[in-house]
């Protein structure tokens, strides 16, 4: 019994040392891969940290996994992009405030040889139908991310369900992040749905080009979600709120809008007028 107490004492000591070593003001932000992979957060976080002294530790996951991480209490704040899954998260009582910080759009990218003959169009649903008819390879994220959810919504409008799609040889569910999906599409000369931010900052495009863009159904919204103190008492909610407030503040919005890759703006700040 005393041994057990010793073990507990040791654990408590380790925890205390650990806590004293940890930075006094830091939060865990569970975010979608796209805001990390596109370089946005790496670009704007130094500004925020310089102003407030708060370090934001970003765990980049797909939206589905990020929401789960927060559900388990392992994150202090969320930055995600799947309206339906976010609503469910809030309905479950995990989230309190949800605010849109920016938008951009999804695009369908594909091989320049364009086996499904969809290049240059703007109707995403017609394009998916053409891809299915021609059985041209299509890469799906398959990881419950925001982009994966958007893709499945579009397939549904095009009359295809995940059950049917998963049996098709040309439909390749890779179960990975956006970058992995683009790498796979590039290697297999396949089509895939991508967020524009990751696409623009991706460096291994090979023969991939933008096939479809400009469809209103391809709107991609990014929301910051604060957690419900009733369910997540141990989270650093006050510190997290400072960052959430900064993202929608004029300064944060300006920082988001100023981020460019190769002269192209990746995110349109929209806290003032949510899309």
């Amino acid at each position: 019994m005393s041994r057990f107490r010793n073990v507990l004492a040791l654990a408590a000591t380790i925890a205390a040392i650990h806590a004293s070593l940890a930075e006094p003001l830091s939060i865990i932000l569970a975010s979608t891969t796209s805001v990390e992979a596109s370089g946005l957060l790496a670009n704007i976080l130094p500004q925020f940290t310089a102003r407030t002294g708060i370090t934001v530790n970003v765990v980049a996951q797909g939206t589905g996994k990020a929401l789960d991480t927060a559900r388990r209490g392992d994150a202090d704040l969320l930055l995600v992009h799947d309206p339906d899954a976010e609503q469910q998260f809030i309905d479950e009582g995990h989230g309190s405030t949800r605010r849109q910080i920016a938008w951009n759009d999804f695009i369908i990218v594909g091989p320049s040889a364009d086996p499904a003959h969809v290049k240059g169009g703007s109707d995403s649903v017609a394009a998916l139908k053409a891809i299915a008819t021609s059985q041209a390879p299509f890469v799906s994220r398959g990881d419950k991310s925001g982009t994966n959810a958007a893709e499945l919504r579009l397939w549904k409008i095009a009359g295809q369900t995940p059950d049917v799609l998963s049996k098709e040889k040309w439909y390749r569910d890779i179960g990975g992040g956006m970058g992995q999906a683009l790498n796979a599409a590039s290697a297999m000369d396949a089509y895939t749905l991508s967020d524009r931010g990751t696409w623009l900052s991706f460096n291994n495009k090979g023969s991939l080009i933008v096939s479809i863009e400009g469809d209103p159904r391809l709107l991609n919204r990014y929301d910051v979600i604060e957690l419900n103190p009733g369910k997540h008492a141990s989270a650093k909610l006050a510190t997290a709120k400072v960052f959430a407030d900064w993202l929608v503040s004029p300064e944060g919005q300006q920082a988001i809008g100023a981020y460019q890759v190769n002269g192209q703006k990746l995110f349109n700040p929209s806290a003032g007028s949510p899309k």
């Binding site: 925890a15 650990h18 992979a37 530790n57 765990v59 990975g176 992040g177 992995q180 291994n204 141990s234």
Partner: protein, 219 residues
């Protein structure tokens, strides 16, 4: 560049810490398994050897659930910290070091066991001498443990979260750079990792060689 150096430094320090803890735990276990007979010893040995091939991603997942805020050790707030990565790598290194130490101890015990206990010394008193005899093998065991920890990605990416400046190691950075299509940068980091592995292996050979020649002097 600073990022790069931070990543290399974190990788090496996390893996060194894990190897040190794993060694402290594995040395007594490995030797005890050779020196002290007890019921179930055979099963423990089989188990340790089986855990040689413990999949890092499974270790990562289990540890993730244990360290999660909603898990049994959630109150320690260790998830997504370097400490969590050290714990994960320690678990991965223990079977390797313990199994290698056990094999060497078993050989030494078979050869010198009677001699070491002939003058009334207990088995416990023989343990330090066994460790002394197998010191060359200990170096190999410890460096094999280090090699395992520094090269794995599955466990640290789960419990560390690949947070820039906090828990991003060489292997998780390689995974990230690959996913961003920065294959050249990923390859450069990979080259550093391979360089470290080669240095480890070279050190093992040098030390083992020196121990061998020292042994022949005694004989």
């Amino acid at each position: 560049m600073q990022d790069f150096l931070d990543i290399v430094a974190l990788s090496i320090s996390v893996s060194l810490a894990a190897t040190a803890v794993a060694t402290a735990i594995s040395l007594p276990i490995g030797t005890a398994l050779a020196v002290f007979p007890f019921r179930g010893r055979r099963s423990v040995i089989v188990l340790i050897n089986a855990f040689f091939g413990l999949p890092p991603v499974v270790v990562g997942l289990v540890l993730y659930l244990v360290l999660s805020r909603s898990g049994p050790l959630g109150f320690l707030a260790l998830l997504f910290t370097p400490t969590a990565m050290v714990i994960a790598q320690t678990i991965l290194a223990i079977p390797i070091i313990a199994a290698l130490v056990h094999r060497a101890s078993e050989r030494a015990w078979a050869r010198y066991g009677d001699e070491l206990t002939s003058d009334g010394a207990t088995r416990l008193q023989a343990v330090p001498q066994i460790l002394m005899i197998i010191r060359a093998d200990l170096v190999t065991a410890v460096l094999a443990g280090f090699g395992r920890t520094v090269s794995e990605v599955g466990a640290v990416i789960l419990v560390g979260g690949n947070i820039r400046g906090l828990t991003r190691t060489m292997t998780t950075a390689i995974a990230l750079q690959t996913s961003q299509g920065d294959l050249a940068l990923a390859l450069a980091l990979g080259a550093v990792l391979v360089g470290i592995s080669i240095s480890i292996s070279a050190t093992v050979f040098a030390l083992a060689g020196r121990a061998r020649s020292a042994g022949s002097d005694e004989a």
